[in-house]
Assembly symmetry: C2
Homo-oligomer: 312 residues x 2
């Protein structure tokens, strides 16, 4: 049998990434294209597949893994993903199988990334861990007994939408106090703006529409008090949410990925402190919180590929 | 092969229940004895096993299932259970095996009860559900993909100690705002006392040391405004906690058991409303919240037996 390559496809709101991945997690070839490159989902799938075949050249592709917002592992569909150009239920898995003749497996982007961490990253050999992405939103994948928790309908693992501050900030989901409104890159900007309004002229930063989490990070690195406080508040809310998650599935590790996870000790130090403070005693000093070992740019492709590798 | 009987043993702070259970969940014989009936754990195990053999008469016992506070499925031990007479680590599974020559399986009481619900109660045939006990404390068992979630150390499923009211009521565990302080039989008494202090002479009840949840229930049934409000507050906190739990494992059902669960619509009606209000839209109108179908008095024995049946 020749070498096995998997097409890992990561469908995002703006761009779609395609990578050919070998069994060891090496990306041998990759490309990016705009997600709105076609008018219908069917045309999109054909365009992506043609691109994938071109990337492969004379390599043999043995399966397809797809990560997408609202992707459902059980039925291979995405449904009403708010950031994607197609409305209603899109049968991604069926469409990719038809155009390629291969098995195509779908899951949501955070679950895919968690699979990538398990197959190729810091979670290799771990059976019980939680993976959480702190990007524009907050997503998560929960692995227990070596298996991804999908739930009865494939929709498990939405820690970003657990309510951690009852009656708190309004979330895009229509409720209040979701973790995502505090621990995402948007959340920390919100926190920083609140702090600057309450404490004018304390920070070197200014409240503008262009304020981004990277500016807050840079200011914190430079010792800006309010920026450090913004990270502290973020860590305190995330610390409670992760401690609550531990009471659920008692993982040995928690991996943090994406935008805010790249802040290093500025986030991790207060996070580990608040996390331990909020853990029930039976869990204390047992759970490692670590940044993901996968590079930001490749994690989604590797994750999508890991998903397919796991099943083939 | 003759009929199989399992010894289901439920070790509680006051009493220990023993039952002989057949494969269909019939308790053919049972007994109760005080948990402090012996000075050492070893003597306790011998006493319980002698009693069990006496109960069995000429029936053949093929295995032992044990539910106990802080019981650990992986290592068969209980460790520092605050309400049991023995300190440190007690190797229950090994002790019962030695005295009986049979396999003995241990888990915590709430996990055992969840197994009972799955084998003999309302969760028959369900692969994804959450079981929560609203008694003196709040315990839980989480089943995903047909398997109990034990976590890396056997300690998963402590929903009673998720923090739902940050900075809220002081809990016996040393932290603040745990679900247990609101949604247990002690929690609702606390809530009722708070309400009566803030609204003197509105309720027919009075703040005494003897106020119990059953009095609040009876007052609520009779239309007492504050008692109804106490149930409403309990339901609102529990509704958030259960909605957050759904975002974790996306179960099809949630089963509620114990003290407060026997309050019927007085609790279930506001609970279902708050639960739906706090669910992320993808989960709405999909998850059934139901009272347990197992009788209070037998659930623990049946659960312990179900645990052993599942493994033998």
């Amino acid at each position: 049998m020749g070498k096995t390559y998997i097409a890992g496809i990561d469908i995002g709101g703006t761009g779609t990434k395609i990578g050919l991945v070998d069994e060891k997690g090496n990306i041998v070839s990759q490309a990016t294209m705009p997600t709105n490159c076609a008018t219908t989902a069917k045309e999109f799938v054909e365009t992506v597949w043609n691109k994938t075949v071109g990337l492969a050249g004379n390599l043999t592709i043995s399966g397809i893994g797809i990560g997408a917002p609202n992707g459902n592992y059980y039925n291979g569909c995405i449904e009403n993903a708010p950031n994607l150009p197609w409305r209603g239920r899109i049968e991604l898995s069926r469409m990719f199988s038809e155009v390629s003749g291969l098995r195509a497996i779908v899951t949501n982007d955070a679950n895919a990334a968690a699979m990538g961490e398990m197959k190729f990253g810091g979670a290799k050999g771990l059976d019980h861990f939680i993976y959480i992405t702190l990007g524009t939103g907050v997503g998560s994948g929960i692995v227990s007994g070596g298996k991804m928790i999908y739930g009865h309908d494939g929709m498990a693992g939405e820690l970003g939408h657990t309510i951690v501050v009852p009656g708190g900030r309004s979330c895009g989901c229509g409720r209040r106090g979701c973790l995502e409104m505090y621990a995402s890159v948007r959340g920390i900007v919100f926190t920083m703006n609140e702090l600057m309004q309450d404490n004018p002229e304390v920070s070197a930063l200014e409240t503008t529409e262009n304020l981004q989490s990277k500016h807050i990070y840079q200011a914190a690195v430079n010792g800006d008090k309010l920026a450090l406080q913004a990270f502290d508040i973020t860590a305190s809310v995330l610390g409670i949410a992760l401690a609550n998650a531990v009471a659920f599935s008692s993982p040995s590790h928690i991996f943090i990925f994406g935008g805010l996870a790249n802040s290093g000790d500025i986030l991790m130090q207060p996070l580990r402190r608040y996390f331990e403070e909020n853990l029930l005693n039976v869990y204390q000093n047992k759970v490692c919180i670590e940044p993901s070992l996968l590079p930001d740019s490749d994690a989604a492709i590797l994750g999508a590929a890991a998903l397919a590798l796991d099943e083939l």
